[in-house]
């Protein structure tokens, strides 16, 4: 009987457990997770802040679903992987033996060293507890400063606006998410934020978070009272939300002597350099056949597919993980946005370090392609036109063509018949793509 251990209870870990059970009805499966809340939809946190769903809704599996998997669930923190003795050491002191191990520890929000980050009222949006904290603080808070970039920063901005706060969004440069979006797209998002009442501060960097004593007569706990910018401006606020990016949680792997880079390095079987140890999800750095590099995604579906592929290999059924074109459909300032493939933002983004949640390193690849674009208001399409295929695309606003464009990129459909038209200056991309899709679907 094989002893399978999975560290991490996110999409990768849970889908791996499902796959293991499906293909090995006898094996012992242990799932180790630090979070008491267990498995939940991390992307769903944003929708709790906007009151679209209650917190109870983000848990996709019932207790019964887990019972069917016949696994042991351990809520504890894995401290060490002992590769010699094939054991995981837990905080509780227990040593869990393994035959095959999956590291699916995910990623965590990066911290910042700005003075005052320890103050009550400084928040992030990384887990359910963070969402709860924000909702609690918002009952009393009036104004918030959001620092960072990418999707999570906007989720915080949107959530806090919805919760009735005055929101100040700091951008270090002159536009939002410059290494993924082009200038027009950044402007569309920024304009929309301003319409919602968000105060954008360009070329603004946080210098210090200033505390004040809560309670009557200045007693009580020290909490956020204002921020000071590098330029010396003081902005009074009760909350500071930080989303400057995420870092794969590679500590365990690194200390165990496994090969790591930005993430845990794996081969096409999602196997680390120890044949009994695999990695999947946000923590794994996998081979991307398109760019020829090893990359990290922080996306739900790749995490899930990697969990499944790793599990197949763990039960001894050799399965190659083929990374697909990275896709996310998300909301930027209330505008539904589809991002797929390489769309090569050409500027660095000083608001973030590495990637953010809902992000893929592959999006930043600058493809050998020409951009075809239509519309410059809230509904925008930008296609990256390669030699005979579309290598990437972004759609903001109107999503009627989201599925067709997703399929054209993912299946690498030959676009030769319309390539010249795509690149003609007065093209109506929407109509052209819709007609082409009807023809090739």
């Amino acid at each position: 009987m094989t002893n399978y251990v999975i560290i991490g209870t996110g999409a990768a870990g849970v889908s791996a457990a499902e796959t293991l059970r499906k293909h090995d009805s006898q094996g012992k499966i242990t799932l180790i997770g630090e979070e008491r809340d267990g498995y939940y939809s991390r992307p769903g946190l944003a929708y709790i802040l906007t009151s679209e769903i209650p917190e109870s809704q983000i848990f996709p599996f019932s207790a019964e679903d887990f019972q069917h998997l016949k696994l042991r669930w351990v809520t504890d923190s894995a401290q060490k992987i002992d590769r010699q003795s094939h054991k995981i050491l837990l905080s509780s002191g227990e040593a869990l033996p393994y035959d095959r191990l999956l590291i699916a520890t995910g990623a965590e929000a990066r911290g910042t060293k700005v003075p005052g980050v320890e103050l009550q009222g400084v928040v992030k949006l990384d887990n359910v507890e963070d969402a709860r904290r924000i909702l609690r603080l918002c009952k009393k808070a009036r104004a918030a400063v959001v620092v960072g970039g990418g999707i999570t920063a906007l989720e915080l901005v949107e959530g806090l606006i919805h919760l009735g706060l005055e929101v100040h969004f700091f951008l270090r440069g002159d536009r939002y998410w410059g290494n993924v979006l082009d200038e027009t797209e950044s402007k569309i998002v920024e304009h929309r934020l301003q319409e919602e009442g968000v105060v954008l501060h360009y070329h603004t960097e946080l210098e210090e978070i200033i505390g004040k004593r809560g309670g009557l007569f200045g007693g009580g706990e020290l909490r956020v009272g204002a921020v000071r910018t590098v330029a010396g401006e003081n902005i009074p606020c009760d909350m500071v939300a930080i989303a400057i990016g995420i870092a794969p949680r590679i500590r365990l792997a690194k200390e165990a002597g496994l090969k790591t880079d930005r993430g845990v390095l794996v081969n096409e079987f999602l196997q680390t350099d120890d044949p009994n140890i695999y990695a999947a999800g946000d923590v794994a750095q996998v081979f991307d056949p398109v760019s020829g590099k090893t990359v990290i995604d922080s996306l739900w579906d790749p995490a899930r597919l990697q969990g499944q592929a790793a599990a197949m290999n763990m039960v001894g059924k050799r399965t190659v993980y083929r990374k697909e074109f990275a896709l996310n459909v998300t909301r930027l300032a209330g505008l539904t946005t589809t991002i797929i493939g390489a769309i090569g933002g050409r500027e660095p983004d000083d608001d973030t370090i590495g990637i953010v949640r809902g992000d893929s390193e592959t999006w930043r690849e600058i493809p050998e392609a020409i951009a075809a674009q239509s519309n410059f208001d809230v509904n925008r399409i930008r296609l990256m036109v390669g030699e005979n295929t579309l290598v990437g695309a972004i759609l903001i606003g109107d999503q009627k063509l989201s599925q067709p464009i997703h399929q054209l990129v993912a299946r690498q459909v030959d676009i030769t018949p319309i390539r010249a038209q795509l690149l003609s200056p007065d093209v109506r991309l929407g109509e052209l793509i819709a007609a082409f899709w009807e023809h090739v679907r």
């Binding site: 991390r42 992307p43 679209e52 769903i53 848990f59 996709p60 539904t336 599925q403």
Partner: protein, 85 residues
């Protein structure tokens, strides 16, 4: 209101039921559960999206709430009618 008008909504619902079903594109789903939350008859649409299965439940009203509410374009109607009109 005449009798014909009175029965029209039911007729529309029946024709929708016989012609279409909700189909997920799992690669877009993040399991947030907005679909299941808004289903008026509590079908766990999210589970269907996780399993990549169409919502075949005969109870499904094909009311379109889940399709419209999904923030990520996971769900769509697909015709199931074997015979084109």
């Amino acid at each position: 209101m005449n009798l014909q008008q009175f029965f029209k909504p039911e007729q529309t619902r029946r024709s929708a039921l016989s012609e279409g079903q909700v189909v997920p594109n799992s690669s877009r789903c993040v399991q947030c559960g907005i679909c299941s939350y808004h289903c008026p008859i509590s079908i766990d649409v999210r589970r269907h999206a996780w399993l990549g299965e169409p919502v075949k439940a005969s109870r499904c009203l094909t009311c379109g709430e889940c399709v419209a509410r999904c923030p990520r374009g996971v769900l769509r109607f697909e015709r199931t009618s074997l015979f084109e009109k």
